[in-house]
């Protein structure tokens, strides 16, 4: 009788969920395996690494196309959706400190910064993914998961888990300083630093996103170099948590990603965070 009870007691002790759970020891093993697999295939030649420019060439300018070859691209993440200024997209550039090209990748997942943080090295197996423009004619040729009406559509969360693979490395993104006169379409997707720029003095104190704008506001910034005054646009989305922050007066240095307006009419700079605006020496006298 007593033995029966004791055995039963022991048996029952084991049959329940424990109270405390330790942090899993092998976080990210599955992703690691997929990455190792990709790197092996690169070595063996089964997959070929290409540049962003080469990928963009696969787009005929009219309809989003599926990528035929067994191709891979890699780079580091330079944008963050934490503030809400970017949404369901990441921009990557080919090198942390000496970038030459950048590209946009559209992923149907929110809070991407929790996985694809700034500086994270990523490898993308783009075979079978699509290349095109999210909004036809917007000038930003990007990678996505499908096409709808000839326009590029975001890739699904499941696709991103399988294709957009992180390595263990997070790099410090370097400063690439460019003057406003140098900025061109080829800089789309790069994280750049613009020094000594000014907002328009009549807009000082106003919020970055004007009350009248539904989606985003472009604010003019100017830079004076040797008597030439050049202008550029800083675009902020209404959904950014810093959209209410005021336009500072005085000279500033600003860092962000080069992209285009929704309809592709102009090049713009988009911020990751309000803190990327810092005071600087003035260039223009007004």
């Amino acid at each position: 009788m007593k033995q029966l009870f004791f055995i039963g007691f022991l048996f029952m002790i084991s049959c329940t969920q424990k109270r405390d759970f330790d942090i899993p020891k092998n976080l990210g093993n599955e992703e690691n395996e997929m990455l190792n697999d990709l790197l092996e295939k690169l070595d063996s030649g089964e997959l070929t690494k290409v540049s962003f420019v080469q990928v963009r060439q696969l787009y005929n300018g009219r309809e989003a196309t599926q990528i035929d070859g067994k191709l891979v691209i890699s780079g580091v993440v330079v944008s963050s959706d934490e503030s809400g200024n970017f949404y369901k997209e990441i921009y990557i550039q080919d090198h942390p400190t000496n970038p030459t090209e950048g590209i946009k990748v559209m992923i149907d997942r929110r809070e991407l910064h929790n996985k694809y943080n700034i500086g994270r090295e990523v490898y993308l197996n783009i075979s079978g993914l699509f290349v095109g423009e999210a909004n036809r004619g917007d000038g930003v040729i990007a990678i996505g998961g499908g096409e709808d009406n000839d326009e590029l559509v975001v890739m699904s969360e499941q696709q991103s888990i399988e294709r957009v693979l992180r390595t263990k490395n997070t790099f410090e993104i370097g400063e690439k300083t460019i003057t406003l006169t140098e900025l061109m379409e080829t800089h789309i997707g790069l994280f750049v630093t613009l020094k000594s720029v000014h907002f328009l003095s009549e807009e000082h104190g106003q919020p970055l996103v004007a009350a009248k704008d539904w989606y985003d506001t472009q604010r003019e910034i100017t830079q004076c170099i040797e008597n030439t005054k050049t202008s550029f646009l800083l675009e902020t989305s209404r959904f950014a948590d810093f959209s209410d922050m005021p336009i500072p007066n005085g000279a500033i240095r600003v860092r962000g990603i080069i992209t285009k307006t929704y309809n592709g009419s102009d090049l713009v700079l988009a911020l990751n965070a309000y803190e990327d605006i810092t005071p600087d020496d003035p260039s223009c006298s007004e």
Partner: protein, 884 residues
């Protein structure tokens, strides 16, 4: 001449032979549940029937003839037993030891019954009332059927919620002061030692308490009520938990006046009917009695029944079609274990000290003082820096993509369905990884597991005086005081590898504690909200009863005073001037009157009638509209102050009781008025197009309950019993209540929706009608078989009051929606009635006596037909072994 003499001679010879050819048996018959000795028994011997009586030690002795034969043993209110005797030696004395006598079939069942449904285990919800609650109401076939059959179908007696069911332990009311309901898990798993119950049916008053409307119970844990004995019970089931073990030891009362009962039990299960619903409960009871003198008795009782369990999610048909009906969205794989994010735990020990003084047989004075303290916690995932981890979040399911404003997106819907199909559980690893990223940047965790806590501590004292002014009159007076304080807060319990959380709203960025806006909440720190609730109640109950041979009349009354107050410890950023510190103190007077009479007509027929009128305060829960964020009292805005609930109840029964037949037919009506109810949920489509987390206050609710209860038990043969039970009910809203909502996200303090058109819609109280037909076979050779078919009709889906207000048709500017279609609206607003269904249940049991030990085996199979009910659960069975 010769014949007579020969006949006489033969007779004398036989008689003489008869006299020497006997043996003796002795045994100790005891009641199975309480181990109390049975004082007198009717014994059927081969040639005659005799009555035996117990000696002081409980022993019965019978002289029996030699041979091999069966004898029958019958004790009052117990099932008849057969014993096989083999007596071969003349003059031998055989000691049969203890013999257990069971009452009804369900008595054996109730030793190890596992019938707790999810609802009963969850103290937040309005639990249905089950076996554990009507466990020892053996006398009434209707309540027994409710306990063992109807409860599985979420049937609510008279459509009333459990705050109308009063439960007391040692005269102390167990219904919590903040919800008015008894919390069954506070004494769960101790069935065996809590069988000493006084039960008052329906709306009758208990001796020492005014009572409720659907039964009142006073459980006595005194050790002196038990005889000496020990019991080990093991049960197995596939319903809410798998293994149940209870060991109890009763010492009886020793000569020095000390006696005790000690019980210890475990309930365990890795998974109930739903995946990932683990169960982990311990039960312990210690009751020590000191009989100082025949007039004075002291008792100390300690009860501790901590429970931890993983919850099961409810889910929509869409989800069930993809994942089946054991699906549970609350768990995900971690280290090969199904880790459940929603764990409920209750650990509230109780200590009681009772004094019993009976200076003369007609005067008793009982006083009990009790203290209860402890913690209640419900865990869930928070995602201040991440996305909603719920795999069934509506934006992740295919129905979302099929109903977007730009038309159905089949591609996305298909992708969503595949994703849900292949994954569909919580992704713990993704949360750990996200937190790893955040920690590397020195930022607060994106995801964390936190617990909503309610730590209550309460004192109670109850003093009852019972006198008998006359042999046929009883007068009871009792005075009670209860005081409770609860500390309510949320606290992180597992940061999932991340850093302490920001104590601020992640969307609107206001601080939860404005006075400490930058403090981060780590493990165990208060988070989101922190406030105290104080409640106290003082009450005086009286009951006067007159008993004659033909009739009995009772009058009972109750007067109470209740006070509530909130004390906020966080200055909430959304309500900076109305959250910290003391709220207004609100108090209510409550009264109650009950009158009843029971009349005996012609021997076997009885008429029983009861009336009750009660005015009781709203619960603490329904008095504050948003205690997590502010001090506001319900009704503050809409200019309709909190009202007391007014309840009128009337019932009339006809009873027929004969040795072979038991019939009860009751007609009842209960009217509830001025009820207030507060709910919290995320609502879409408020004031046109707004989506917000709201507090919905509904007041002026009026409910009518009318119905019939029928119970009949007929003993067709001594071994064959037929039961027929029926409950017919009509439970509906009698008036249109009023609704208003408050929310952080509203521009104004509140939005008044006016009248909710709920009049005449039926209440969601489970099946309004329930029927059962059962046959039981009781073989005197210790085995039994039972089969019951029950049928349930008229179950309704609960209607959200906000939908049936003008909010349904008006846009944000107060004008009707342009595309409003009254036909369509009527269609959408039709109350939904569920399909009727039936359940077939089977029970079987057998017991053996081996030396001094009893082994009983009981099996119950519910829902043999495998009926899928969208509100209930699937097949389950109970196997149980009793050893005494």
């Amino acid at each position: 001449m010769n014949t007579t003499r020969r006949a006489t001679f033969l007779y004398l010879l036989f008689a003489q032979l008869g006299f020497t050819q006997t043996a003796t048996i002795q045994f100790y018959p005891i009641e199975a549940e309480s181990f109390r000795s049975i004082q007198s028994l009717q014994v059927q011997l081969p040639d005659k029937i005799i009555t035996t009586h117990a000696t002081q030690s409980g022993r019965h002795t019978i002289v029996v003839p030699l041979g091999t034969y069966d004898i029958g043993l019958q004790a009052k209110t117990r099932r008849r037993l057969n014993l096989s005797l083999v007596m071969q030696q003349a003059g031998e004395v055989k000691d049969l030891g203890q013999i257990l006598f069971f009452g009804q079939v369900e008595d054996e069942m109730s030793f190890g019954v596992i019938s707790l449904t999810e609802e009963e285990l969850d103290s937040d919800s309005d639990e249905s009332l089950s076996a554990s609650t009507y466990l020892n109401t053996v006398s009434d076939v209707f309540y027994r059927t409710v306990a063992f059959h109807f409860s599985a179908a979420f049937f609510k007696p008279r459509g009333l919620d459990s705050s109308h069911r009063k439960v007391l332990i040692n005269d102390i009311e167990m219904n919590k002061l903040n919800t008015g309901r008894p919390v069954w898990s506070n004494w769960g798993g101790l069935n065996d030692v809590m069988r000493n119950q006084i039960f008052a049916q329906g709306s009758q008053a208990l001796l020492s308490h005014f009572g409720g409307l659907i039964g009142s119970t006073n459980i006595n844990t005194s050790a002196t009520q038990f005889g000496k004995g020990s019991r080990v019970t093991y049960s197995h089931s596939n319903r809410s938990y798998q293994h149940r073990l209870l060991v109890s030891y009763r010492s009886g009362v020793a000569d020095n006046g000390w006696g005790y009962v000690a019980a210890f039990g475990l309930r365990r299960g890795l998974s109930g009917a739903q995946e990932g619903t683990f169960y982990d409960a311990t039960s312990a009871l210690l009751s020590v009695d000191k009989v100082i003198s025949p007039q004075h008795q002291l008792n100390f009782t300690a009860i501790y029944t901590p429970v931890r369990r993983g919850k099961g999610s409810s889910y929509t048909k869409e989800v069930a079609e993809i994942k089946g009906n054991t699906y549970n969205s609350y768990w995900g794989w971690q280290n090969n274990i199904r880790r459940n994010a929603r764990v409920a735990r209750i650990a509230e020990p109780q200590l009681m000290l009772s004094h019993h003084w009976q200076p003369k047989p007609t005067l008793v004075w009982r006083t009990t003082i009790a203290y209860q303290f402890g913690e209640t916690g419900n865990s869930r995932l928070d995602y201040p820096g991440g996305t909603n981890p719920d795999p069934t979040y509506y934006q992740k399911l295919l129905s979302y993509f099929l109903s977007t404003s730009s038309g159905p997106d089949y591609e996305k819907a298909f992708q969503a369905k595949s994703f849900f199909d292949q994954n569909g559980q919580i992704d713990w690893e993704a949360m750990y990884q996200a937190n790893q990223t955040k920690t590397a940047l020195g930022k607060a965790a994106a995801y964390a597991l936190y617990e909503d806590r309610e730590d209550q501590s309460s004192w109670a004292i109850s003093s009852t005086l019972e006198t008998q002014p006359n042999p046929n009159q009883q007068l009871h007076l009792s005075l009670r005081y209860r005081k409770m304080q609860s500390e309510n807060f949320a606290t992180p319990i597992d940061l999932l590898g991340g850093l302490p959380l920001q104590n601020a709203d992640p969307y609107d960025h206001y601080a939860y504690d404005l006075d400490n806006p930058t403090t981060h909440s780590g493990l165990g720190d208060p988070y989101r909200y922190h406030y105290l609730f104080d409640a106290n109640r003082v009450g005086l109950h009286t009951k006067f009863e007159v008993n004659t041979a033909r009739w009995q009349a009772t009058v009972a009354s109750q007067m109470t005073h209740t006070a509530y107050q909130r004390y906020g410890l966080f200055r909430n950023g959304g309500y900076p001037n109305a959250s910290k510190g003391r709220s207004k103190k609100i108090s209510f007077f409550g009264i109650g009157i009950k009158a009843g009479a029971k009349i005996n007509l012609m021997g076997r027929h009885w008429i029983d009638g009861n009336l009750a009128y009660i005015k009781r305060p709203p619960t603490l829960q329904n008095s504050f509209s948003n205690p997590r964020e502010n001090n506001h009292i319900v009704g503050e805005f809409s200019n309709s102050p909190l009202k007391r609930e007014a309840i009128v109840s009337a019932e009339m029964s006809y009873l027929f009781r004969s040795p072979a037949t038991d019939i009860r037919l009751t007609v009842y009506g209960v009217q509830e008025r001025d009820i207030t109810d507060v709910s919290y949920f995320f609502a879409d489509g408020i004031g046109g197009d707004t989506a917000a987390f709201i507090q919905e206050v509904v007041y002026g609710l009026a409910k009518d309950h009318i119905g019939l209860e029928w119970g009949m038990q007929i003993e067709l043969l001594p071994e064959l019993t037929l039961n027929s039970v029926a409950a017919l009910g009509y439970h509906a809203h009698a008036k249109n209540p009023f609704t208003y909502a408050t929310s952080q996200d509203f521009e104004e303090e509140f939005i008044d929706f006016g009248e909710s058109k709920l009049k005449n819609t039926r209440l969601a109280v489970g099946p309004h009608n329930a029927f059962a037909l059962g046959i039981g076979y009781q073989d005197p050779n210790f085995w039994r078989l039972g089969i019951t078919y029950s049928y349930y009709t008229h179950s309704y889906l609960s209607i959200s009051p906000i939908i049936r207000t003008q909010n349904f048709i008006l846009d944000d500017d107060g004008l009707p929606f342009i595309d409003y279609n009254p036909e369509k609206a009527k269609d959408l607003l039709t109350p939904k009635r569920f399909d009727d269904y039936g359940l077939l249940n089977l029970t079987a049991s057998k017991s053996w006596k081996i030396n001094q030990m009893y082994i009983g085996w009981f099996m119950g199979i519910n829902n043999i037909l495998g009926q899928h009910i969208f509100l209930g659960d699937t097949n389950n069975h109970v196997v149980q072994i009793i050893a005494a």
